[in-house]
Amino acid sequence: MPKRYLALLAIGFLAISGSWKAWSHHAFSAEFDKDAPVTLRGKVTKIEWINPHAWIHLAVEQEDGSTVAWMVEGGTPNTLLRAGVNKNSLPIGTDIVVRGYQSKDAACRPACKANGRDLVFADGRRIFMGSSGTGAPKDGYDPRDK
């Protein structure tokens, strides 16, 4: 009898855990849409230099002069450091252009979300800011992608 209960419990747990989404740790395809590429131009408003993914918050300029809040997910702080960027490279107010892919929900609450693939500074310096091997498209942004 106890064995049967244990088996039921285990099945229940597996069934639930399959649909659970951990706070900001996931494969690319779980949250982002490879068919929705975006190019975001704007000023940095906030940086969250945290594991498992860094987030860069941007005020993206619209054609009419207004701004829309976006938050762009990068790789781990460690990955970004090795790519040549740390928190001090992106002070608040820095002008950047980010290319990436919008989140599947496209809800824009609390801010529009995207997975960043590369990041271009005003001086033209370009940095790959995504995570490799997570199922993100092989779009040529990652110099290590073969």
Binding site: A22, W23, I50, N51, R109, P110
Partner: protein
């Protein structure tokens, strides 16, 4: 009340050390890992004592001997668990304070503390009478069972804090929003 909790958490969040800990390359992971390892030590010892009272572990060893020997590792584990737990809260104060799971966990911790306090008093008063019995008297067995139930639920709630289904930054039903203590128009953390 929710406004007070939010203000306190936002104040903690404004600390330089809170951000430094959350954004550190390795320290946050070490603190989190230590929290999990020491809770295993602490609860592992506690559950053995509870199981002894229920009659499922070391039935031929006096209950006071089991409790006495496991007390030191249990308290060492407990102390480190509390310290690392506070640090984890300090690193991510606003999101944690507005987590439905954290709030349930906090109430359960209070319940577990009251249960432990009553349990120790009863045990001190009566242990001489049943020390070598295979099972403790009914009321102490109830306290031991409650202790296991509370702590298992506390660990489950603690694990679930990592999930974002009920986070204030998403649109939530009024009930969830009330339980989580979301503040209308609050800043994004």
């Amino acid at each position: 009340m929710n406004q007070l909790i939010y203000n306190f958490a936002a104040w903690l969040d404004s600390h330089r050390w809170s951000t430094l800990l959350h954004e550190s390359f390795y320290m946050y992971n070490w603190v989190e890992t230590t929290h999990v390892l020491t809770l295993m030590l602490s609860l592992g010892m506690l559950f053995l004592v509870d199981l002894r009272l229920l009659g499922y572990a070391f039935p031929d060893v006096p209950a006071s001997a089991v409790a006495g020997r496991l007390k030191l590792p249990m308290l060492v584990g407990f102390t480190l668990m509390v310290v690392t737990g506070l640090l984890l809260f300090y690193a991510i104060p606003v999101r944690s304070a507005q987590s439905v799971w954290f709030r349930i966990k906090f109430l359960l911790l209070i319940a577990a503390a009251i249960n432990a306090f009553l349990f120790h008093r009863r045990m001190r008063e009566s242990v001489a009478a049943w020390d070598t019995d295979q099972r403790a008297p009914r009321r102490l067995r109830a306290a031991a069972a409650l202790s296991i139930i509370f702590w298992v639920l506390i660990v489950i709630c603690g694990r679930l804090i990592a999930y974002n289904w009920f986070d204030c930054e998403y649109d939530q039903p009024a009930f969830v929003s009330a339980v989580a203590g979301c503040i209308a128009g609050q800043e994004l953390y």
